[in-house]
């Protein structure tokens, strides 16, 4: 037998329900904490959702946020936030900041004249050779719609997945899978709230991707469960579930690892513009793997499955169903 790198032994026999009050309960608690953090601390919405302007500055002069703030103080602008941006790919004398200016009135974006003023003032006060590699302005009218579109897209995706699972499996599987997905998404959002990481449209795209990835994992477990339910008709549901998760464990871990490697590469080397996006997917893959092992099937077990043949083939009398088995 040739040597093989293995994430799990060939045959495992873990009882994945043994500590279910810790694992499932823990998940439940984390979800609640995430929702509370989201409600109390709020998300650090980017201009996509709040309206306003972001200006990226680049200069060879080391950044002193205080000096930037002071320079901009005299201008008649709304709320300003200045953050320095770091990235391993930057050169030694490359100093980047993001300046965010909140939207002022209800409909129009920050005017180009004001942006020109900001650029002028910064060049005068900090570095005459300062460049502005990106300037983005979103009016409050659009940002309101973008929030709505994001919520809608998450909801539509969840419902579509649930319907597909219902068609291919049974409705309990659909509910279990979608609740597990929401768990992944909610905890990821919670982490963004706790650490006040910028939450913009790309993060929503990441959340949707998490839905797509995490359902992958859950489907593989459920697919094996469906097969084993046919094979072991008399075995209690809980044991069939345990068997299925054990059988697919090697694959689950392997795929999680390859995906984390790829996303990890993006997180570290993909540049600062993509960092939030990569982080959201990284977290989502972690929680998604966890939830397909510990959350999805527990929900199916709680709802219970109707395993009688009657449920599958209406009209066939029970007593004859297994006659030739």
């Amino acid at each position: 037998m040739a040597w093989r790198f293995k994430l799990a032994p060939d045959k495992t026999n873990f009882d994945f329900f043994r500590f279910q009050w810790i694992t499932f309960g823990g998940s439940l608690m984390l979800s609640v904490i995430a929702i509370v953090a989201w409600a109390v601390m709020g998300l650090n919405y980017g201009i996509d959702f709040k309206g306003g302007t972001t200006i990226r500055t680049e200069s060879t002069v080391a950044v002193d946020v205080g000096a930037y703030r002071e320079a901009l103080q005299g201008l008649p602008l709304g709320d300003i936030s200045i953050t320095e941006v770091f990235d391993p790919s930057f050169a030694d004398d490359q100093h980047v900041t993001m300046i965010r200016i909140a939207a002022e009135d209800e409909t129009e974006a920050v005017t180009p004249e004001k942006i020109a003023q900001v650029e002028e003032v910064l060049r005068a006060a900090i570095d005459p050779a300062m460049t502005f590699p990106s300037v983005e302005t979103v009016g409050p009218k659009v940002s309101g719609e973008l929030i709505w579109a994001s919520v809608l897209s998450l909801a539509v995706t969840s419902v579509a997945i649930m319907i597909y699972m219902w068609l291919r499996f049974e409705w309990q599987f659909g509910v279990g899978a979608v609740l597990a997905l929401l768990h992944d998404v909610i905890i990821t959002i919670g982490i963004f709230a706790v650490f006040q990481i910028k939450f913009d449209l790309t993060i929503v795209a990441a959340l949707l991707t998490i839905l797509g990835y995490s359902i992958n994992d859950t489907v593989v477990v459920f697919d094996r469960l469906r097969e084993n339910l046919q094979k072991y008709k008399q075995m209690p549901l809980r044991e069939v579930m345990n068997l299925s998760v054990n059988e697919t464990l090697a694959r689950t871990l392997m795929t999680a690892l390859t995906t984390l490697l790829a996303v990890g590469a993006m997180l570290v080397f993909g540049g600062d513009v993509l960092r939030g996006f990569a982080l959201a997917i990284f977290l989502g893959v972690l929680f998604g793997t966890y939830s397909s092992v510990y959350v999805a099937k527990n929900i199916v077990l709680m709802i219970g499955l109707d395993r009688s043949e009657k449920a599958k083939k209406a009209g066939t009398p029970d007593e004859f169903a297994n006659i030739d088995a």
Partner: protein
């Protein structure tokens, strides 16, 4: 475990799979020589338009052979740099202009029934699509309504056959003329269409590469122009012209008229220096009544512009020309008089030609301006984004590093875990990446920064199908499959349902992202969706063929996955 041959797929299927792979990789090839192919394509386009090639263009053309596919992946704004604008067209501007246009007609119609109505006066109104006229003698209201209704013409719509363009009602001594619902819808539609065309003409004139000009929703236009310096520059480019009108000329002078008189304005000429025209402010007809204009020649063979009005414009223009033969009228664009030709005869059909001291080019340019005309309504900009080319290049570089590292580490892990089968998976992954680029080049998809993220993510997730198959083969070997060939067959067969279910669900999310997302996120959805399809194809078909060839050639006694 004895050796039994593994049944291969029928020959036609093998050939089909390899043909698809070869086609995909050939289509992807130009992307490896991106700058060269791009220069070649630009030159080819320029040559096609001009009809001949300069030496430089020929050199660029020679950089890439013609028989090779030359489609390359478009780079999105966030990678190439450029400007992005989301504009909302103020459609109600047009209503107001429309009602201003109706006023003289309504006034004239009421003048005809003056004996019953008495004098009339226009009243201010809150609604932009409404005209309120107070009449002196309320008893004559019925006659007034009838007279104005006679002006209405039919609107042709899908649902509202037989509906007219104006609704006329009375409220006490006030006659109310409103644009009808279907007419407003038709006006909106036309306003957006015109705005789109005009913006397109203007952006194309600037000669930038592959601009995106799209309608979004009911009254919005998305404009993306790669390579332009800033959003402000783009706004200048598309927003320079205000409005086109045809006005009666009162007099012509050599300096600005300080006392133009009530209802008149003094405007400079566009081409001639020190020439000013005093014109009536209310236009006879305006650009939105033009249906067509093209460069032409008059009966003496001199360059001219031929134009055609719609029904309402034709009526107004016909009446005016009949009454003012010999008098000049001004064509006013953006507050400047383009030309002030003299009316030669009554022009009843709503078509005519404008003669002047035009060259052929000038006539053509004027025709373009007249038919594209001015923006029919003002625009509010809801979103403005400028991305510098350096930032885009930084993103490409970072994306490239991330992709290489992701691919290398995933490959290592796969080979460490599955040995030779891992190598097969890596080969499939490489083909997969090639196919993604091939398909994206073929359909002209745009690669955005999130799209690069989609590629990296695909690297991680694409091997999932291989992992599923290999783990299944291991299971079958453990569970005592009859022989190695049977284990491989069962592995591929039984992993299929999980692969399909898992990927269909991901495809659902990609579809939602595509339909609800905008710009860069759409780019992500496209790469993700293409990646899912190609990865399933390579895992199921390509890996299977490679495994079969290897197995039947090596005839291993035992199978180690």
């Amino acid at each position: 475990m004895a050796y039994t041959p593994l049944l291969n797929a029928p020959l036609w299927k093998q050939l089909l799979v390899w043909a698809l792979v070869a086609a995909g990789l050939t289509l992807a090839a130009p992307n490896l020589f991106y700058p060269r192919v791009e220069a070649h394509n630009d030159a080819a386009k320029a040559v096609e338009e001009a009809g001949f090639a300069t030496t430089e263009q020929q050199a660029a053309l020679d950089q890439w052979p013609d028989w090779m596919p030359s489609g390359i992946v478009n780079l999105g704004l966030d990678l190439r740099g450029g400007a992005h604008l989301l504009a909302e067209v103020q459609v109600s501007d047009v209503y107001k202009a429309r009602m201003d246009g109706w006023w003289p007609e309504v006034r004239d119609a009421l003048r005809e029934v003056r004996d019953q109505v008495g004098s009339v006066r226009r009243q201010p109104t809150q609604l932009p699509y409404e005209l309120r006229v107070q009449i002196e003698n309320p008893a004559g209201m019925a006659a007034a309504v009838e007279a104005v209704r006679a002006l209405a013409s039919n609107v042709i719509t899908l649902t509202g056959v037989g509906q007219t363009d104006i609704d006329v009602t009375a409220e006490g001594d006030v006659l109310i003329v409103q644009l009808s619902e279907p007419e407003r819808a038709a006006v909106d539609q036309r306003t957006i269409q015109q705005s789109l065309e005009i913006i397109r003409t203007r952006v194309d004139q600037a000669g930038t590469r592959e601009p995106t000009i799209q309608r979004q929703g009911a009254d919005r236009i998305l404009i993306q122009v790669p390579g332009i310096g800033s959003a402000a520059e783009l706004k200048e480019l598309i927003g320079t012209t205000a409005k086109l009108t045809f006005n009666p000329v009162v007099r012509r002078g050599t300096s600005e008229d300080q006392t133009p008189g009530a209802g008149n304005v003094s405007l400079p000429s566009l081409d001639e220096e020190n020439v000013w025209y005093t014109i009536e402010e209310v236009p006879v007809v305006s650009g939105e009544d033009l249906t067509n204009a093209k460069g032409d020649f008059d009966q003496n063979g001199r360059p001219a512009v031929a134009f055609q009005f719609d029904a309402r414009g034709a009526r107004a223009f016909g009446d005016y020309t009949a009454q003012n033969i010999g008098a000049p009228f001004a064509i006013v664009l953006d507050g400047k008089v383009i030309s002030a030709p003299v009316i030669q005869s009554h022009i009843p059909g709503g078509s005519g030609i404008i003669t002047g001291n035009f060259t052929v080019e000038e006539a053509n340019r004027l025709a373009v301006l007249l038919s594209a005309g001015a923006l029919p309504a003002s625009m509010t900009f809801l979103e403005e984004r400028t991305i510098g080319p350096e930032l885009g290049q930084d993103s490409i570089d970072a994306g490239r590093v991330a992709t290489v590292i992701a691919a290398a580490s995933v490959s290592l892990l796969m080979i460490a875990s599955y040995g030779l089968f891992g190598v097969f998976a890596v080969v499939a992954l490489a083909i997969n990446m090639g196919l993604i680029f091939g398909i994206m080049s073929l359909i002209g998809a745009t690669l955005t920064l999130p799209g690069i993220a989609g590629l990296v993510l695909t690297i991680g997730m694409a091997v999932d199908a291989n992992v599923l198959i290999y783990e299944r083969i291991r299971d079958e070997l453990r569970n005592g499959a009859k022989n190695a060939a049977r284990a491989i067959e069962l592995g591929f067969e039984r992993a299929l349902s999980a692969i399909v279910d898992a990927n269909v669900t991901t495809l659902i999310t990609a579809a939602v992202l595509f339909f609800l997302g905008a710009g860069p996120i759409r780019g992500f959805a496209v790469t993700l969706a293409i990646g899912i399809i190609t990865s399933v194809f390579t895992a199921i078909n390509v890996t299977r063929l490679i495994v079969t060839y290897w197995y039947n050639r090596r005839k291993p006694k035992t199978l180690v996955v």
